[in-house]
Amino acid sequence: MTKKVLYFITSEDITGVKLAMEHTDEDDVTILLLQNAVYFANKSNKEVTQAINQNKKVAACEEHVNIRGLSKFISEKVKLVKSDDVVDLIFENDSIINF
């Protein structure tokens, strides 16, 4: 059975995104960006762009994106999620890699 893994990234350390990209393809990986980590969703960020190109699921906290005025700078493929959805994502996944 495929394991669902959530990379829960709240810090400005790109290593979390890199680890998620190196994660085995056997698992179903989601990268969730919160707080200042949402700046990584800027299209100019090469790691997140690469993750999107590799069809990794990338989500970002909508409130954190909006207060930073970032919405027009991020890829359409980044799913914007509300606090509600963040809670659901946490429980939907089997394991959480915090970063």
Binding site: L34, E63, D84, F91, N93, I96
Partner: protein, 120 residues
Amino acid sequence: MARLGILFFDGPYQAQASETVVKLANAALDKGHEVHIFCYMDAVNAVLENQKKVEGIFNIEEGFREILDKGATVRLCNLCLLVRGTVKNCLKKECGDVKRAGTPDLAKIIEETDRLVAIC
């Protein structure tokens, strides 16, 4: 319904973490989940009394009072409080299930919750 553990490290205001903790806890509680929070290092300062309300700034004390009121449990690293000199300023038990604790209590939270997130 499920049980969510939250660990964080930062004090209030300088960093966004304590505000994120309050909002995430609120969202989980409103969905009927249990929430168990462990305040480690500077995070113990997020739960101090007498944080003055300033317009435009999210008041962290009020945030914690609200989630305690909704049933969240909050554990404070006792050693972290002691070295910082803030032991006597924490929210009191009248506010809800808030207690000084040791690091083993985080182990307990990991054991007794379904998922643990760390807010850095």
